[in-house]
């Protein structure tokens, strides 16, 4: 018959154990939440491309991103994309950052000029813009600036009537707003030039084959598959935030070590007499240390599970509080948090392990 010492010791003071688990969970949440928020922003940034249905995106030479990016393809080159072998459909678009205003309220949008026949991102309500005085906006703008369907907004000094809505493109600072391409080209001095061409491949032609073919056939363009383009767009957020994320992982690690160490050390100190008794009864030092490590491990695993639950809760809660906030929980980030948790366990166990290793079995007989 065995005595579950690890569990019993942890449950002697439930409040302390629970507070410890919560502390570890919050420290790991610092690591998880930041990554999930940034990943959520990345997903929103690629929302248009990911849902456009395009297999290949053709841009100006050297351009592999859309947000905060300039790309100009001359009208003749854009028109010749459709004639490349393997192209089923080619949709030219113009992409322009602008301030969308409704009264005194303003929001940054990327106006996307599309042809009336274009069938890109699906709408969540209403219809597509049919002329240069109509625009589709993200649902989030309803709450942010009151730009719901039927309202009038201004951008680039021009009035637009909102005729439809899209969902899930509002990121931390911007969203997309599809409108008529020809009018947008005129408003921005682009004339017939376009920003990008979204290309669908014929059946049996792979996206990468088609991208290579377009790249070879047309001068001054870069053709990327949708996956490559999205990856490139996401990398921008990643590249800009690497240092901040690393710092946050480091701080999360430090706080995790401190909280775990505090709980484990506190528990060990209050049970030193028990350890001495166990040693006097014949428990060998390695086994006693195993008990301490078991306690630390149990705390960290429970903290890790709670952190996952908390980040899941944030994933549900934050978009309801602010439509521009979205979380995306990725396996890689969970593995990073787990690695941090494992490192936390290893370092935090050091203090109580040293204390238990020094316990004199005879001390139990002293008052």
């Amino acid at each position: 018959m065995s005595v579950p010492i690890v569990r019993r010791q942890l449950f002697v003071r439930k409040g302390r154990t629970l507070a410890g688990v919560a502390g570890i969970a919050l420290a790991l949440l610092l690591v998880l939440a930041l990554r999930a928020l940034l990943a959520g922003a990345e997903d929103r940034l690629t929302g248009y491309i990911d849902r456009s249905g395009a297999d290949v995106i053709v841009a100006q030479q050297g351009v592999r991103t859309m947000h905060m990016t300039q790309s100009v393809i001359s009208a003749p080159v854009a028109a010749s994309v459709a004639s490349v072998t393997g192209v089923e459909d080619a949709t030219p678009i113009v992409y322009v950052p602008a301030t969308l205003a409704r009264g005194d309220q303003r929001a940054l949008v990327y106006l996307i000029g599309e042809d009336r026949s274009a069938d890109t991102i699906p709408l969540s309500s209403g219809r597509r813009a049919r002329n240069g005085s109509e625009v589709v906006v993200d649902e989030a703008l309803s709450g942010l600036i009151g730009a719901g369907t039927g309202t009038t907004v201004t951008a680039l000094g021009h009035r637009f009537r909102v005729v439809g809505q899209v969902a899930g493109t509002a990121s931390l600072a911007s969203s997309i707003a599809p409108t008529d391409r020809t009018s947008l080209g005129r408003l921005t001095g682009n004339g017939a030039n376009v920003g990008y061409v979204l290309v669908s491949a014929r059946k049996g032609v792979s996206a990468s084959q088609l991208a290579s073919r377009i790249q070879r056939s047309l001068p001054g363009v870069t053709a990327s598959t949708r996956a490559q383009f999205s990856r490139s767009e996401r990398r921008r957020v990643g590249d800009m935030s690497t240092d901040i994320v690393r710092s946050m992982i480091f701080v999360g690690f430090l706080i995790g070590v401190a909280v775990t160490g505090l709980v484990a050390y506190g528990a060990t100190l209050s049970q030193l007499r028990d350890y001495a008794l166990l040693r006097a009864l014949g428990l060998r030092a390695p086994r006693a240390l195993g008990i301490v490590l078991g306690q630390v491990g149990a705390l960290v695993v429970a903290g890790f599970v709670l952190a996952l639950a908390l980040v899941g809760t944030l994933d549900w809660l934050l978009p309801r509080l602010s439509p521009t906030l979205a979380l995306s929980i990725r396996l890689g980030d969970i593995l990073t948090a787990f690695a941090v948790a494992a490192a936390v366990s290893a370092v935090a166990a050091a203090m109580p392990v040293v204390r238990v290793a020094r316990v004199d079995p005879a001390s139990v007989f002293r008052r």
């Binding site: 939440a33 050297g62 300039q70 301030t99 680039l156 001054g220 990398r235 909280v259």
Partner: protein, 370 residues
């Protein structure tokens, strides 16, 4: 003999190792909050680096409310018309755009400003080389160039065009929006928009108020938006720091909760471990409120010590960022520090709840049990 026994202090100092770990954990949370809010402030300051050094009125395409992240295309001939308006000393055309560069495998997004050689709007201080005078020449921020091993004579490729680095500018460093400079003709060629400008930098005549002039321009010239430099800068600041608010708030709430938990955990542990001593104090007549003050005192001391050490750590972080990664500007202000001190007291109040509840329920008779 009358005297006082500093019970709270003695209990806190009884285990220095535990106290140190507790203070460090609270300090880490405090430093994190200060550094994140400082970074947000720094972003705000860096975003307006360019505008802060330009004339006081900015004219863009109608609807333009920002200088950055805003399309604005005007005919370059508009400059002559602007200069004929009363109160306008000069109107200098510039073009600007974010230039997505890939420098040794990492994405960098400088704000590329195109100005006319010999006119306003270019780099104001050179660390090396010269200002751009010909097409396909570029001046990079010194810190950005150093970070990526670039110097005068290097070549960067942007949108399929090779741009030769002819100079490095000083005072143009920023984490999100470092500055780069080229000629306006370079930008116009890249954008295939000849004879256009993005904005006009308008210098008012002596004694002419900037906001009056902006209103006059907007009222006289159709199809333009005229903003004072202050307005445009405020809008840009709001746009960039606003994007950071949600993330910052989430991190601050988590850090605050961590600090509250650590304080609560430390005071609760030390209180519950000395339950017998507290029961004795209760048995010999120490009142309930005095006992609660003991817990609150310990929590307050821990919170203040954590806030103090955290502030020191934050300033060390500011110094380290300036020395090791100068592109990050972290502005830890007195207001933030005061705010953290107030937050520390709030943390202490919240954290004292658990031990206070334990003490309130403690039976004085427990002192006499074995």
């Amino acid at each position: 003999v009358r005297g006082t026994v500093p019970v709270a202090r003695r209990q806190l100092l009884a285990e220095p190792a535990k106290l140190t770990v507790s203070v460090l954990a609270i300090a880490a949370s405090v430093a994190l909050v200060l550094l994140l809010t400082g970074l947000r402030q720094g972003i705000g300051a860096q975003v307006t680096l360019y505008l802060d050094r330009q004339p006081s009125v900015l004219v863009g395409q109608a609807g333009a409310q920002n200088f950055m992240a805003q399309a604005s295309v005007l005919p370059e001939t508009l400059g002559q018309r602007l200069e004929q308006l009363p109160g306008v000393a000069s109107a200098t055309p510039i073009s600007q755009e974010f230039a997505m560069l890939t420098l040794h495998g990492r994405r960098v997004l400088p704000l590329l400003v195109g100005s006319d050689p010999g006119k306003a709007g270019g780099p104001w201080s050179m660390a090396a080389g010269r200002r751009p005078i010909a097409r396909n020449e570029i001046v990079l921020d010194r810190v950005l160039a150093e970070e990526h091993g670039l110097g005068v004579g290097s070549v960067v490729t942007y949108r399929g065009t090779r741009l030769r680095v002819v100079g490095l500018s000083r005072g143009t460093t920023a984490w999100m929006t470092p500055l780069a400079f080229a000629t306006r003709s370079t930008l116009n060629a890249l954008d295939r928009r000849p004879r256009t400008a993005g904005f006009f930098l308008v210098r008012p005549d002596k004694g002419v108020d900037a906001s009056d002039l902006a209103s006059r321009i907007e009222g006289t010239v159709p199809g333009v938006s005229a903003l004072t430099r202050t307005e445009a800068a405020a809008n840009d600041r709001k746009l960039f720091t606003g994007a950071f608010n949600g993330i910052l708030l989430a991190m601050v709430v988590i850090a605050f909760a961590v600090a509250v938990l650590v304080i609560g955990l430390t005071v609760y542990t030390s209180t519950s471990e000395r339950g017998r001593e507290y029961a004795t104090l209760k048995a010999i007549g120490l009142g309930r409120s005095a006992l609660l003050w003991l817990a609150a005192g310990q929590a307050g001391a821990l919170a203040l010590a954590g806030a103090l050490v955290g502030t020191v750590l934050a300033f060390a972080g500011v110094w380290a960022a300036a020395a090791l990664a100068p592109k990050y500007l972290v502005n830890v202000t007195g207001t933030s520090v005061l705010g953290m001190a107030a937050a520390a007291l709030l943390m202490a109040l919240l954290a004292a709840f658990l031990p206070a509840r334990y003490l309130a329920r403690l039976d004085p008779a427990a002192a006499f049990r074995r």
